[in-house]
Amino acid sequence: MIPVEVRLLFWKEVRQLTRNTAAMLSCLFMPAVLVVLAPVLALLASRTQPYRDLKVPPLTASLPGFDVVKHGQDYFLYVTLPFLFVMAALLTPVLAGIHTLIVERERRSLELLMALPVVVGDILAAKLAAILATAVATIVPMFLVDAVVIVPLTGAGTAYVVGALFLLVTTLVAGVSCSLVIALTARDLRSATSLGGMLAVPPLLLTGLCVVFVPGLGRFAVLGLLMLALGCGALYGGLRWLTTERYVS
């Protein structure tokens, strides 16, 4: 099913990513802060007296997305966490992508890869698969920490965990697609970093809209589907209009 060339290149990419201290630090640090540290601290803070007595202003409470927000803890679960998950799941693949896609071209080692009996599509497919695998391997275990803490402390329930996991995984797909668009568009490391920041804006905007206008757990499903559509759109658009030639020329 998967061509042998892509499989071999995939393991090369994984080996290199795990050996690259800078790449691993940025892939671990960002999700550790956004998926573990910030949620756990926010959750603990939401259980303190001032947050427990938090009252949502009437105008805000009338928005569909705030129908479930009665206390500080609900605000954390339905407003703060979606943003943290989207940011973590977007930025981790983008950072890994910059390390594996852009640095490869910048240091001209891409020439070595292209000299081998593979086509550019194999190289990109292997890199994107490695980025996705690395991001999943770092973020999902961290999310399990959240799940273990959130469920017993908040009584959010399994549906919440499943919904949040769906959002996390679909946003990872969007993040990987973003890293492809960055690789095909950015000419160097600096423009890649700027572009990465710019590409994070639409998903964050969508997150804001879903948080405000989609009620209850539906926000995770709607936002997850939007992320999937965004990811597929970026992937299709990148390959169709930008073309893989841009990565090598």
């Binding site: 071999l8 070595l112 009996p117």
Partner: protein
């Protein structure tokens, strides 16, 4: 003889409008050692990228061992092509052995013979970036040779190397080219002449001349080298009066003629009649740079 590489009226225009290749037609027969000679930006690397199927032609077609690049069957023939890329960067996190193992697996081969041929055995555990530039180039050449390819493409193999390193690499290149079709892409005329029998000269993406060196020399304008005791300026003035175009070179003058043997005698007689003490008047073999310059003109 079958054709190993064929560029048929190939044009490549990049999205920013730059012309990489312009209606370039070029053939390399199987077993030939051919050179793609041109300055930086002439289109050599674009041609290599097309053989790799990394760039698609805007017009025309590229064939490798009779198969259209990027068409059905390309993957099979791609395994019979070895490429030494131009000034490749090295992986800081892979050893030479790991990279060659990857290359060998992709080619479905073993790296041992290439490692021995390139004298790399003792560097297999060395990180690629720790190798000297000469060894880095040999490592890239070893990767190109792991499958004993039918066609070898060398893209500026000595560019960026110190002269000593470039000289050390030459025997390895010569050995690597032996017994197979080889294409050398270079801007270095001496290297081209030393390693290849055929040449195609690229300028701004166009093939401006091609053939064997002998054919190009035969086609190039013959010249007479004339020197007189009165000096270069006086000879140039006399030749200008005769309506002949000439250029000074190393204390003598080079005169373009259609037939040096026929016109040489007449020219010498006229210069002597003009009072010049001519002590040299002989046909000269054009140098590589003259051929290239003529092609460019």
């Amino acid at each position: 003889m079958a054709t190993a590489i064929a560029f048929r009226s190939v044009t490549k225009r990049f999205p920013d409008g730059t012309l990489g290749l312009a209606d370039a037609t070029w053939y390399v027969a199987e077993g030939a050692h051919a050179c793609l000679l041109g300055s930086s930006g002439a289109g050599k690397t674009t041609a290599v990228r097309m053989l790799q199927a990394a760039l698609r032609p805007t017009g025309g077609s590229v064939l490798l061992l009779g198969v259209q690049v990027d068409g059905p069957g390309y993957r099979d023939v791609r395994g019979r092509l070895g490429i030494l890329p131009q000034g490749p960067g090295m992986y800081p996190d892979l050893t030479a052995g790991e990279y060659l193992a990857l290359a060998a697996r992709l080619y479905g081969s073993r790296p041992d013979t290439a490692v021995e041929a390139l004298d790399l055995t003792e560097y297999m555990r060395t990180r690629m970036t720790y190798l000297s530039p000469n060894f880095q180039r040999r490592l890239a050449l070893a990767a190109a040779l792991v499958a004993d390819p039918d066609v070898l493409v060398l893209d500026e193999p000595t560019a960026g190397l110190e002269p000593d390193d470039a000289r050390d690499l030459q025997p390895y290149l010569r050995e690597a080219m032996r017994g197979r079709t080889a294409v050398l892409c270079t801007h270095n005329e001496q290297e081209a002449r030393a390693l290849c029998q055929e040449v195609a000269i690229l300028r701004s993406g166009r093939v401006v001349a091609q053939g064997t060196w002998d054919e190009l020399w035969r086609r190039s304008r013959p010249r007479l080298r004339v020197a007189a005791r009165q000096g270069v300026e006086r000879v140039l003035a006399e030749l200008a009066e005769m309506g002949l175009h000439a250029e000074p070179e190393d204390g003598a003058v080079l005169v373009s003629t259609a037939d040096p043997q026929l016109e040489g005698a007449t020219l010498l007689r006229r210069l002597l009649e003009a009072g010049l003490d001519v002590y040299e008047c002989a046909p000269v073999q054009p140098e590589v740079k003259d051929i290239v310059l003529e092609a460019f003109q």
